[in-house]
């Protein structure tokens, strides 16, 4: 049985539903991200697990016990907020020790555990500082230590890095993952940043408009999106409106050019479908045994490690990501160029 189980959770606020029929089983020690645009219900779901919102219907179980309507201060769930939420009147050490003090732990135990936590977040010497004397990144580390000090059953992180600079964000996310794996703590991580979700999660739940779109490993979510929303929300995606020529063979036609996609296609010949292709699966030039499409170069953007090239194909556009190399000859805007891709790189999404 799963360690944390959310069953048919629904939350309605004054007629409008924020979360609809959310079902998820999370194993002990797993890090699951809720990913989606703002207003998709990811934070509301997290807050239901924390106890700040009571589900309109549905059930939440934590290590076998029903916690659906248990008050938040009895759940033993650690939470980290986007706005850090450190207590401004307390030092770093007092913040970290707050939960233990509330639980009336002996003084020496509080001190020992606080020191341990400050060591874990690599800030052992800053216990006497006040929150306003720390940078944003340091404050969020302290918030993490504070949430972990009470040895919670589940750690909940609500967009913890959104208020930080890009560089700190990348640093801190691997730090969070390291700590999470060290302690083996079951974690839910809410974010709207796909890169963040892909890089630290064991599994990702992609959400849109209060519904779960797809649950899977980062690899599955990125490479095998099940809905058009997931496909377009996670990563960059080329979407070409094509007509089916031969569904069994996976043959499609687009702007007078015929190519093969992953077969079979679940649509009949003549149907209009969307062919999806990741920019990094397209190669520049002519490769034997692969599909070819020809178009006019519209833009060449040098991004350092990657060169992004946009081609116009009839009324549509297609983007290609090439890895940078020093011997690379960049195409010029206006050139006619051919791109190649294997059939398996292209999949078809049938519109409902």
């Amino acid at each position: 049985m799963a360690f944390l189980s959310i069953q048919h959770a629904t939350k309605t606020f004054a007629q409008s539903s924020a979360v609809e029929d959310f079902n998820l089983e999370i194993e002990k020690g797993e890090l699951v991200s809720f990913l989606g645009p703002s207003g998709c219900g990811k934070t509301t779901t997290l807050r239901m697990v924390a106890g700040f919102e009571v589900p309109t219907s549905g059930r939440i179980e934590l290590s076998g016990a029903d916690i659906t309507s248990q008050p938040p201060n009895q759940r033993n769930v650690g939470m980290v907020f986007q706005a850090y939420a450190l207590f401004p009147n307390m030092t770093v050490a007092d913040n970290v020790g707050f939960g233990l003090k509330v639980a009336k732990k002996p003084k020496d135990e509080i001190q020992k555990r606080t020191a341990e936590m400050l060591g874990l977040i690599r800030m052992p010497q800053l216990g006497d500082r006040f929150p306003y004397q720390l940078s944003g990144g340091q404050q969020q580390r302290v918030a993490l230590a504070r949430a972990l000090a009470i040895q919670p059953k589940v750690l909940l992180l609500d967009e913890p890095l959104s208020a930080l600079d890009a560089k700190i964000r990348v640093e801190l996310r691997s730090e969070i993952r390291r700590i999470q794996q060290t302690l083996g703590i079951t974690t839910i991580y809410v974010t709207h940043d796909q890169e963040e979700a892909l890089s630290i999660s064991d599994r990702i739940v992609v959400m849109s408009a209060g519904r779960m779109e797809q649950v899977g490993t980062p690899f599955e979510i990125y490479n095998f999106p099940k809905t058009p929303f997931v496909a377009s929300f996670v990563g960059t995606l080329n979407q070409l409106r094509c007509t089916v020529v031969d569904a069994a063979q996976g043959k499609l036609t687009f702007d007078g050019q015929t190519f093969t996609a992953t077969a079979p296609i679940r649509a009949s010949a003549g149907a209009s479908v969307i062919a999806a292709l990741r920019p990094e699966e397209l190669h520049f030039g002519h490769f034997d045994g692969e599909n070819q499409l020809t178009g006019k170069v519209e833009a060449v953007t040098f991004l350092g490690g990657i060169v992004r090239i946009r081609l116009a194909l009839g009324q549509s556009q297609i983007t290609l990501d090439a890895l940078n190399e020093r011997k690379l000859t960049l195409p010029k805007v206006g050139d006619m160029q051919t791109v190649s891709f294997p059939a398996h790189a292209c999949w078809v999404m049938v519109e409902n």
Partner: protein, 293 residues
């Protein structure tokens, strides 16, 4: 061996003299208005001080102060007002902090209504308040259409009258106290702090005493000091309820004596300024006396 690159000679130091063509003229008008404004406040105060120092003809001295402070009535009324102020502050805090907290946390839609109510003392004069109180509380308060008595007449007992005046003072101080507390709560984001404390296992009492109140210290202090100043100078409520507070004492003294009221007025000014100074000191100059007018 590597060839050394010629080292460029450092640029000659230049004395830079600012020849700003658009040099700003001495802001004569600004200063003029500022001085006029300052004089408007300072002159009467200076006159009061000067007058209070001239009790003895031809001698500058503190005799008026000595006379004022040595009057046993002064100590009695001042002490009484300080006591009433302290009770008023406690009642205000107990009323306003949970109200403002609950509105921030659970009832944001009630904010406009409560703000309107807290502003009423600015619109309705104290005289109406006191007449209303006397009208209602001078006879027993009963449940309408029954003879079940809820409250004995308040104006006939000492405790009852004291309770009435404190209630009145709480109303008069409401605009200042509520605004201070509400501003304080906004700056520390009480909602998230509450949730953080809850997730760490804290109950409401712990959240209030260890998280909310300590972080509202500055706001509470500024609200309390303003309430203190209001209570100390209040005349109308005390006069009509017949209570011997400092306000009516000062008023009466002014009718019979010349120099002592001036001395006391100046002292009260200093006290208020000291209070403002304390606020500034504690908030590190960042503090704003919310709602002060």
């Amino acid at each position: 061996m590597t060839a050394q690159a010629p080292i460029a000679a450092p640029p000659k130091e230049r004395t830079l003299i600012a020849h700003s063509r658009t040099r700003r003229a001495f802001p004569l008008w600004s200063w003029l208005w500022f001085i006029l404004g300052a004089l408007y406040f300072i002159l009467p105060l200076y006159a009061t001080l000067d007058f209070s120092l001239h009790m003895e003809r031809g001698v500058i001295g503190l005799k008026a102060y000595g006379a004022a402070f040595s009057d046993p009535e002064f100590a009695r009324t001042f002490g009484y007002s300080v006591f009433l102020a302290a009770v008023t502050i406690i009642v205000s805090v107990l009323l306003v902090v949970p109200t403002a907290y609950w509105i921030r946390l659970r009832l944001p839609e009630a904010r406009r209504l409560v703000e309107f109510i807290t502003l009423l003392p600015f619109v309705i004069p104290a005289i109406i308040l006191v007449f209303g109180m006397i009208r209602i509380y001078s006879s027993p308060v009963e449940i309408p259409f029954t003879s079940i008595r809820l409250l004995a007449p308040l104006t006939t007992s000492k405790l009852g009258t004291n309770a009435l005046i404190v209630a009145g003072y709480v109303v008069l101080g409401l605009p200042y106290m509520y605004r201070s507390v509400d501003t304080g709560m906004r700056t520390v984001d009480v909602r998230t702090l509450t949730e953080a404390a809850q997730s760490l296992g804290a109950n409401w009492l712990t959240i209030m005493s260890r998280v909310i109140l300590p972080n509202l210290r500055t706001a509470l202090l500024s609200g309390a000091l303003l309430t203190f100043a209001i209570v100390l100078g209040e005349v109308v409520l005390a006069s009509y309820l017949g209570l011997p507070t400092f306000g009516p004492y000062l008023f009466l003294l002014g009718q019979h004596r010349a120099y002592e009221p001036a001395a006391l007025t100046f002292t009260t000014f200093l006290l208020t300024w000291a209070a403002m100074g304390i606020i500034q000191l504690i908030t590190g100059g960042q503090g704003q006396v919310a709602g002060a007018h």
